[in-house]
C-alpha cells in the first residue's frame, strides 16, 4: 500500500531523511517512532504530497508521488498537529467544505455519520473557534476519514487530548484499522502505540533504523526495544 525506496529529503543544506526504505502492506497498522527532530513529520508530509522528495521513489495506494498526487490524495486521510479547520465556520460547515473538496455526493448523511463517530453531533452548529483543543482534534479526525480513505496518516494524534478524547481516539483508530485500512501513526506515547499497532518502525538519524512486529517484541516490550535502537 505504501512503498518508499531510498527516500532523501533535504531542506537547503540540511539533510533530514537519508535514504528511507519503508513498505506497508494493506491493512497494516504501523507506528512510526523516533526522537524529536528525527523527521517523522517530514516523512508523513512527503507521503501525503505536501512536501516533495528530494530523491528516491514514493508510491502510495499504487500511485507515484509527486506525479500522481491527485490520485494519492483522494485515497488518503491525514491528521496532523494542527486541526486543519476554519475557526469562523461551524463543525458542520467545515465538513461540508471538505466534502465538496473531495467530491463526496450526498454528504449530509456522511457528515452526520462522521460527527457521531467522533462524538460531536451536539456541537455541529458551533464555531470551531469555540472548540477546545481536544474537540478540534476530534473533528480533525472526522475530517480525515470523511471520504473513507484507504490509507490514513496520523501525526501524533494524541497530543492535547484528555482521557476521554484519547479513549475515543483509540476506538476510532481501532475501528478505522479494523476495516482493512492501512494506517501509519507517529507517536511519542509508546504504550499507546504498543496497544494499537501491528508493526513498529523507528526512524532515527535519517533512516528507519529498526522495524519489528508486535509478535516478536518479546516480554520486555516496546520501550526497551526503542531505547536499545536509539542507543545504537
Amino acid at each position: 500500500m505504501i512503498e518508499v525506496k531510498k527516500l532523501v529529503k533535504r531542506f537547503g543544506m540540511k539533510t533530514v531523511l537519508r535514504g528511507v526504505d519503508f513498505r506497508v502492506e494493506r491493512g497494516e497498522f504501523v507506528a512510526l517512532l523516533g526522537p524529536n527532530g528525527a523527521g517523522k513529520t517530514t516523512f508523513l508530509r512527503i507521503l501525503s504530497s505536501l512536501a516533495r522528495p528530494s530523491l528516491g521513489e514514493v508510491k502510495v495506494a499504487g500511485y507515484h508521488l509527486p506525479h500522481q498526487a491527485a490520485q494519492v490524495r483522494a485515497r488518503l486521510g491525514v491528521v496532523s498537529h494542527m486541526p486543519l479547520l476554519y475557526g469562523d465556520l461551524t463543525a458542520q460547515e467545515n465538513l461540508e467544505f471538505y466534502a465538496r473538496m473531495y467530491g463526496i455526493t450526498n454528504y449530509q448523511l456522511r457528515i452526520t455519520e462522521v460527527l457521531e463517530l467522533v462524538g460531536l453531533e451536539a456541537r455541529r452548529r458551533d464555531l470551531i473557534r469555540t472548540f477546545s483543543r481536544g474537540m478540534a482534534q476530534r473533528l480533525a479526525i472526522g475530517r480525515a476519514v470523511l471520504h473513507d480513505p484507504e490509507v490514513i496518516l496520523f501525526d501524533e494524534p494524541y497530543t492535547g487530548l484528555d482521557q476521554d478524547a484519547s479513549s475515543m481516539l483509540d476506538e476510532v483508530l481501532k475501528s478505522v484499522a479494523a476495516q482493512g485500512r492501512t494506517v501509519v501513526m507517529t507517536s511519542h506515547d509508546l504504550a499507546r502505540a504498543e496497544d494499537l499497532a501491528t508493526r513498529f518502525d523507528i526512524l532515527t538519524r535519517g533512516v528507519i533504523a529498526a522495524s519489528t512486529s508486535r509478535g516478536s517484541l518479546g516480554r520486555y516490550g516496546l520501550l526497551k526495544y526503542y531505547k536499545e535502537t536509539l542507543a545504537g
Partner: protein
Amino acid sequence: MPTTSHPSFIHATLAVVRKDLTAEFRSRELLSAMLVFSLLVILIFNFALELNVKERQSVTAGVLWTTFAFAGTLGLNRSMAVEKDRGCLDGLLLAPVDRAAIYFGKVISNLAFMFMVEAFVLPIYAALYNVNLFHPGLLLVILLGSIGYTTVGTLLASMTVQARTRDVLLPILLFPVAIPVLLSAVKASTGFLNGADMAEIWPPLNLLIVYDLIFTAVAFMVFDNVVEE
C-alpha cells in the same frame, strides 16, 4: 460509505470561494480592517492635500489606487493568514483537486473583497472631493487593475505566508511586481477622468489586459511549486 469522485475544477474553486465568503461574513475581520484603513487613507489625503478643484482632478486616480493597493495587501495577507494559522492550507492542499483551482478560489474571494472595498471607497471619495467618479471607463480600469493586482498578490501572499515577517514581506515583494499594473491603472484612470482621447488611453489599458493575462497564466503554472515544500 460515501461515494467520492474528483470534484471538477469549477466545483473546487466555488467551494473555496463559498467557504471564504461564509467565514468572512461571519467574522468581518478582513473587510472591516480594509474598510477602516481605506477610509483613513482618503481622509488623510483630503487633509494633507488641500487642493483646489483643478488639482483634485489630477490626483484623484493616484489617491484611489494608493488606497486600493494598501487596502489590498491588508486583505491579501489576512486571507492567506487564515489558511495558515490553523494549518488549513495543508487541508486545502490535501484535497484531490487541481491546485490551480484552490488558487483561483482564493483569487476570486480576494477580488470580491477588493471590489467591496472599492464600492465603498468610490462614493465616499466622490462626496469628499466633489468629483464624479461614475464613469464606465473608470470602472473598467478598476476591474482590470484589481484583477491584475489580486492575481499577483494572491500568488505572492501564498509564498510570504510561510515567513514570520509576512506582514512586511508581502508589500515589499508585491509593490515592485505590481508597478506595471498600478502605473497603467493610474494612467488609464486619469485619462478617463479627464475625458482624454481614447488614443491616449489605449496603451495603458492594453498593458493592463496583457498583464492580467500573463500573470494569470504564470500563477496557474507555478502555484503548485510555490506551496509545496
